[in-house]
């Protein structure tokens, strides 16, 4: 009962924010709504017992990546998208098509997923940092290292791209 209410609440927040992200014409509004989505998702992760992932979601996504976005938006002082005379069918057919597709997807998921006990808060206890750390540094050690290398490369790339030499 409580779980359901909470989930619906967070889900509502997430969806509303996501829609807002799409419809807003100003990047900073979109960015903030994306942060909202992430927050809601973090709470949902908590509900699913993913403590560490929830925290990581907040720290990495909301706390770092999105701040970077906002930083860039502010730096470029990006304005609203200028309105284009967009074709009618996009506006008037796009939304129903979207809804229809989502319906189909939902139907597919409902049909294809074997029935399983629903989610209750606290039923999943594997998401704590200890477990994550254990499997991260034992089972997934190599991927982990590789990712770190990837990050390094990304940093270098970013530095090179953003350096002054680019004219």
């Amino acid at each position: 009962m409580v779980d359901a209410i909470l989930f619906l609440l967070f889900a509502a927040i997430a969806v509303v924010c996501a829609i807002n992200l799409v419809v807003q014409t100003h990047p900073i509004s979109s960015a903030l709504s994306l942060v909202g989505v992430m927050g809601a998702l973090a709470l949902i992760y908590l509900q699913l017992g993913g403590e560490f992932i929830a925290a990581a979601q907040l720290i990495v996504y909301a706390g770092a990546i999105m701040v970077l976005f906002i930083f860039v938006i502010m730096l470029l002082n990006a304005g609203k998208e200028r309105k284009l005379p967009r074709r009618l069918w996009v506006t008037y057919a796009g939304v129903p098509l979207l809804a229809g597709f989502i319906g189909v997807a939902a139907f597919v998921i409902e049909r294809m997923l074997p029935p399983s006990p629903g989610a209750k808060f606290g039923a999943m206890t594997h998401g704590n940092p200890q477990e994550i750390g254990r499997s991260l540094f034992q089972v997934y050690l190599l991927p982990f290292e590789v990712t770190s290398v990837l990050i390094l490369i990304a940093i270098l790339g970013a530095v090179v791209l953003a350096s002054k030499e680019v004219e």
Partner: protein, 620 residues
């Protein structure tokens, strides 16, 4: 474990060092690496053989095998990288590393003024690596690796002076001719894998021992003959011997090491190694014998009239290899190996001596431009004399013992082969001493200023001289008896004497013709002009091959393959494909708007389609 892997790995390390960084090294460093690695390998051979009891009485009767790792594992076929040492391998190891060390040392002096110094030694070390792999290998595939590797190195080293057209041509010739042999060899390996289900020497030969002897040609004969094809390629036997004389284009140490002492004997080694296969196919043995004797004879005849000192020795190598094959074919495998060893001694010595002469004359190879060198370069003269005596089979010298053993078994096999062999021995003595006399006696005919070689060069020569004189007293056949039982049975006394007699006759004849009556050979040559030309042009074999094989191939490939198939069919298809693609692309091009979002739109459309299909499937 004796860490046998160290033996080939040491030269490989040398190759890696010199090959990668040699450009920056000073010559001393390069020498240290190149010679040092081979010397270390030699010492390691001695150590491991000693600790395996190879030098004591009963040691190594059973092979000592070391398994390193599984190389290929497919179905029943399980090929692993193993090294093994038995008495045969021990002999070969000692020859290869020992002679190799000496020749490396010699090369330091010989190559001193050459460019591409580090390249030369890198190749030489690489060759040592492959040769040792070949010798140590415990299965056919690994042996084949070494086999091909030495082929490669010989190609590289023949073409060492790659700025010279003839050198590169010779290299190509050697490589291509060897391909033919290797083709046969690989077929043989396939057959073996099919019929024995393994390539490991141990299992193959133990199975082979239990097979019946094939009176009528069967698959054993096929295997044996294909192996023989490979051997003829590598060991320069008829019909594939043509590459060896040209191979003299390489630097002399190479000729000595690869094309006299070690690589060319690989075929002999291989046949001896698979003796238990050959022994089950008398027909194959017969063919081996015939090829051997034929090669020995013809090569000797050609050698009679050559004027290039290295050419002379090259043909004598071919003919000596023929002897070895006679030994193998007539079932005296140990005699063959024995001859391999002695031949390694005196032929290496001959080449190195020749090299020393050439060095002294700063590049002159034509015998007619020499003469009277005995006083100018005495040491070289002496050592070459020793070598010549040995190859001429003068009693007491090493050549005498081995050749004699071969001829004895030949006599037991079929007397006519014996007589041909004896005749060849006579000719051998003749042309070797012809070369010797032309070079060292009489008046100097050239216009260079001969100078004696440095110690690094004549030091090894001295060692080899000692070996080629005394090497015959190392009783290899006795040593190899557990593997190749000696044939007993008494022979008429003259069998052992006649070769020596013929040898002396040849020497004497050479002395008469080239020292006492220098004008005589010319008149003889004029008297038998056609024969002379025939011999001088090596029976026109090269020309025959050219017209019979090479040119047709070239024409065929030019007219048919190139013009018709390549230009016409293949290019046509390719271009056609290109054209169609372009026309289709012309249509599809309009999809490529350059707008990321339109691309993404297509992707999404596809994804939606997939989802819907999946959904329908899920529903149904």
């Amino acid at each position: 474990m004796q860490q046998l892997w160290l033996i080939p790995l040491l030269p490989l390390a040398g190759f890696a060092l010199n090959g990668l960084f040699g450009r920056r090294f000073s010559k001393t460093v390069i020498n240290a690496i190149a010679v040092g690695s081979v010397l270390l390998a030699f010492l390691w051979v001695l150590k491991s053989l000693n600790s395996l009891g190879a030098f004591s009485g009963g040691g190594l009767e059973v092979p000592h095998v070391e398994h390193y790792f599984t190389w290929i594992q497919s179905g029943v076929l399980n090929i692993s990288v193993d090294f093994a040492v038995d008495r045969l391998t021990a002999v070969m190891l000692l020859i290869v590393t020992g002679i190799g060390t000496l020749i490396h040392i010699y090369a330091v002096g010989y190559m001193a003024h050459e460019s591409g110094y580090y390249r030369f030694f890198a190749y030489l070390n690489l060759f040592m690596f492959f040769m040792l792999t070949l010798v140590l290998a415990q299965n056919f595939l690994l042996l084949f690796v070494g086999w091909e590797g030495v082929g490669l190195c010989s190609y590289l080293l023949i073409g060492f002076y790659f700025s010279e057209k003839f050198a590169t041509d010779a290299g190509n010739k050697a490589f291509i001719v060897n391909r033919i042999g290797d083709f046969g060899f690989s077929l043989a390996i396939f057959l073996i894998a099919i019929h024995f289900g393994s390539l490991d020497f141990g299992s193959v030969f133990s199975q082979a021992k239990n097979l019946p002897i094939e009176t009528s040609p069967g698959w054993i004969t096929a295997i044996a003959l294909l192996l023989l094809v490979g051997a003829t390629g590598k060991s320069a036997q008829i019909p594939l011997y043509v590459w060896l004389p040209d191979a003299m284009a390489g630097p002399t140490p190479v000729s000595a090491l690869i094309h006299a002492a070690t690589m060319v004997t690989a075929g002999v080694y291989m046949v001896a190694r698979s003796s238990s296969i050959f022994l089950h196919s008398p027909m194959a043995l017969e063919i081996v014998t015939i090829i051997g004797i034929a090669t020995a004879f013809f090569a000797a005849t050609i050698g009679l009239v050559q004027n290039d000192i290295k050419k002379v020795f090259a043909y004598s190598t071919v003919s000596q290899l023929g002897y070895m094959f006679v030994g193998l074919g007539t079932g005296a495998f140990s005699a063959g190996i024995f001859h391999v060893m002695t031949h390694a001694f005196f032929k290496a010595l001959l080449f190195l001596g020749a090299g020393s002469v050439i060095h002294a004359l700063s590049g002159e190879q034509d015998l007619r431009q020499m003469g009277g060198l005995a006083r100018k370069i005495p040491i070289t003269c002496v050592v070459l004399l020793c070598a010549s005596l040995a190859i001429a089979g003068v009693p007491g010298t090493s050549g005498y013992f081995s050749k004699d053993l071969i001829l004895e078994s030949a006599y037991q096999y079929a007397p006519w082969i014996y007589w041909v062999g004896v005749l060849t021995a006579g000719m051998t003595a003749f042309y070797v001493f012809r070369a010797f006399f032309m070079a060292f006696t009489g008046e100097y005919r050239g216009n260079k200023h001969p100078h004696e070689s440095p110690f690094v060069m004549w030091g090894p020569l001295a060692v080899l001289a000692a070996l080629s004189l005394g090497g015959g007293f190392i009783n290899i056949p006795k040593y190899l008896e557990p593997m190749f039982p000696l044939s007993e049975g008494t022979l008429p006394g003259f069998v052992a004497l006649t070769p020596a007699v013929f040898g002396f006759a040849g020497i004497g004849l050479a002395y008469i013709l080239y020292v006492l009556a220098p004008g005589l050979p010319e008149s003889i040559a004029n008297a038998f002009r056609p024969v002379y030309t025939l011999l001088y042009n090596k029976y026109f074999v090269d020309e025959a091959y050219d017209s019979a094989v090479v040119n047709p191939t070239i024409d065929g490939s030019r007219s048919l393959l190139w013009r018709t198939i390549d230009a016409g069919a293949i290019d046509g298809t390719v271009n056609g494909v290109g054209k169609t693609a372009r026309s289709i692309g012309g249509v599809l091009r309009h999809l490529q708007s350059g707008y990321i979002r339109s691309y993404a739109g297509w992707v999404v459309a596809g994804a939606i389609l997939v989802v819907i299909v999946m959904g329908l499937k899920g529903v149904m």
